[in-house]
Amino acid sequence: MNTQTIQCDALVVGGGIGGLTSALELADQGYQVAVVEREASIGGVMIALSKVFPTLDCASCITTPRMAAAAHHPNIEILTCTEVKSITRDGRLFAANLMKKPRYVDEKLCIGCRQCEYVCPVDVPHEFEGGLGARKAIYVPFATAIPQKAVLDAENCMLCGSCEKVCPSQAVDYFQRPEEIKVQAKSVVLATGFQLLPKDSKKEYSPPGSLNILSALQMERLLSPHGPYGRVIRPSDGKVPDSIAYVQCAGSRDKSLGIPYCSRVCCMYAIKQAMLLSGALPLADVTIYYMDIRAFGKGYEEFYENAKAMGIQFVKAKVARIAEDEEHNLNVRVELMEEDGRVEERAHDLVVLSLGMVPGCNPEEFVPVMRDDDGFVKCASPKTAPALTDQPGILVAGTAAGPKDIVDTIAKAGAAAMEAANYMRGLELDLSAVTEAVTGEEERAAERAAS
């Protein structure tokens, strides 16, 4: 196995908007940064969103510049398709073992022309599109991916050899092996983000064989101008939905799933999606079944008020069960929490689950930091220094320390960068203090010798 060694000031784990922001802040301060991302592109969840609340900026428009800025920064090195095996303290430094998974495409040779994609005969559901669209077994992850390099999915590849033949730069390499990378860093920023709870976590909401119950992230893709279908239609039959329901707290504030906490962004993204749907499908009814609407951020309450004014229905209710019939129409059993508290069956064409946020990975598996009861990284001084973990020199940014929206992720990522810089500055001062002490000692020894 090849082993490469990288020396840097800060190692950032996770290349979502949180990790990239920390990396850029540190790099702009003059520190050398390595960013490790396990996927084939940086960008995290944000690059897959349609538009963002409350500004309704298109997500790729505001994410790509930051991705590009990080990728081109002279002080930042980005490692994609790379996993962290371990991070341990090594004297005053951290030693990290990384594993670069084979892309089966030579990153240096690939020019991102996508010829391989056009000839590949294999169609597989596209993860980036929430499984709704298809991709090839060799593919550039998505239009705005960074790096723009193909990746071959060995599990689905038939080894037909077409891609290798067509590749104009001889980049396809079926024999690529995992590569070991060793990193020496002075500080570590954990920005490992979040995942949505799987759609089938709550069996009341996942009838077998259902096609028209979507996760909120799948809906983000449907709403993207360049999404899998190019418009919003039902996956089962391509019908344009007339009636769409949102089920809030589907796996948040729910002890039965072990997720007692609030996921903090679902109210807002549901409202956002509802507004976008009203724009895309002016005739459709959109209903949001909720417990409390938590529109707490700057400009969020006003956003919520706008949504109500647009005619989006907000119904305070608990959803007991969702059923899907043979025509794939949905029946949602709701217990109204207002009016007379009755239980109703309501018909909808499409249901979106506002699924809770759970940690993007378990960092305990590779780094000695503590997690809190909620599974996210524990903050050592949650009030006054929220980016500190229980380990000096290891900081936490973004949603790795609990659910957050983009702006809070970015603020926290800036804070993590500042703490990392403070820590590294402390190391330097310690070092010069040590040198001074040593020279002092030597001088005294010399004096003693002289007298």
């Binding site: 428009c61 590009a68 705005t144 101008p225 938590r294 009030k383 926290k412 810089a421």
Partner: protein, 640 residues
Amino acid sequence: MPEEVQTNDQPENREAKEPQIGVYICHCGGNISDVVDVQTVAEEVKKIPAVKVARTNMFMCSDPGQEMILEDLEKESLDGVVVASCSPKLHELTFRNALKRGNHNPYLYEHANIREQVSWAHHGDPAGATNKAIRLIAAAVAKAVRLEPLKPIRVEAFPHAVVIGGGVSGLTAARKLSKQGLGVTLIEKSPYLGGQTAQLNQVYPTEEKAEDLLRMLVEEVVDDSNIKIYTGAEVVAATGTIGDFVVRVRNVPGDTSAKGIGLIEKKVVFRPFQGCTVRSDRPCSPGDELEVRCGVVIIATGFKHYEPRSGEYSYGESPRVITLPDLIKLLSPDGPTGGRLEIQGHPVRDVALIHCVGSRQVDGIHEPQPDGRVNSYCSRVCCTATLQAANEIKDRFPHVNVYEFYRDIRAYGRGHEDYYEKASGKGVLFFRYTPDSPPLVEKTGPNASRPLKVRVRDTLTFGEDLEAPVDLVVLSVGMMPNDISDLVDVFKLPVGTDRFLQEVHPKLRPVEMAVNGLLLAGTSQGPRDITESCASAAAAASKAAIALGKGYVELEPFVAQVDPARCDGCGLCLNECSYEGALRLTDIEIEGKVERKALVNAPLCMGCGSCAAVCPHRAINVSGWTLDQFDSMVDAIAAQ
């Protein structure tokens, strides 16, 4: 202040050969191409003689898009680039940076906005939109032909920061910066450090004592030799730009308790419900002033509580109607009753907590503030703070009945939901109201068991009218920004419709303001808790460290330039200039003759162009936006 006037390099003679321009038209993933026929646009634009290449791409801002431009610059030896995409606010800088990366002058770039100004504005008229896109691009090409390479203006960055406001946010920002070896001056208007946090007892969700948190922060700041603290002081004037501001600080007039300007001795005393005070060893007389030179200014001036109107939920009419901050004091061992829950000398038996007082207000229902606007925003901390108080009452006084009147419970943060769960478990009763039928607080008759009652139409029980007899009503008042209109004037700070300070971009750039070198920390920007305040303060410190760390900052070269040959020293431009020190008249010697001419001080010029507009001789031009360039753009639009 650097006196030297920086001019850009003499432009090379670009007229010699007709410049070759590359035009790049973005689909914006359909945002543009669903309306504008980008292929036709490219074909039409290609017909303009100066256009060497015209290409389209799904996302010009993506890496392949940028690489395409860089490749063409080399292969086609382009002299200028036009990208037609979204608003320049989003991506002008992206493309300039791409040019820079490829070792090309980033100012040989022009941006055409065909999304906000075309596809989004005319989505019902694809043909018209396509035509408009062509015209706008033609104009941009006309300008690009006349662009000259420019150099950014370099200003030495003075390695010192001024932080205004000594609450948790200001303290945090100051300390983080000092740890990077930068000097900091902390200016606090009140005699005390700690801000509103000093008014708290225990803080959610950790239940740490506010006093302990503050003492730790303040001690660190006070012991820090890089940080100078001035309490009882305020900023009265400021000049300069990023890298080199001069801030004038003065003793707060009339505040006798103020310690005055003076570097402070190291002893920290915490006084509950006031803050941390530190003895000044150098008292000075009111009106004393000093000047601080700094490279950046961080504004951390915090919030004040919404003050209910007299009669709002009987506030001011009954002494039994108090605010949440009052309740926090009442429950504290340092409070007026030593922590006993008593009102008017009697133990409280039933308490009503009313949420959203002064927050989430609705036009037409709530009375507006003096500026005519209601507080339509959510104050973010009150739900959890109220639940925390309800829990404390239930824990310490289990027999007291607690009723909460709410609209939505927004216990969003880590550990917040627990308070809600526990309150329900401990028997706190929740009633939900809508803004158009809020709870009514009324005095009861002489025979009633309790002096007050709260009536509400509870939406959770069939919209039934319910009544709760109580002896204490607590109003969960929202947050409003402190009145900093003086600072807003001094620094020309951008303010949002919610009256809080406004960041550059609400998603991506939360701690920067539109004025370069001014940064935001904590609740001066909007409601948030201590965790969030400290995170934003540290993030602001990081931005400050970036600005000051290199020793210099680079400013955009879009500043006014005077052509001395045309200037006759009439001074009309001076009257128009609103940036102190940016423009002056001076005598210069030209061929032995002394003549009066206008002179620009580039770092202070904001490039607004007012001077250029009034100059009768076209002697002033804003670099990158010259009159000739504008003329050519207008001609190009009209020519089509």
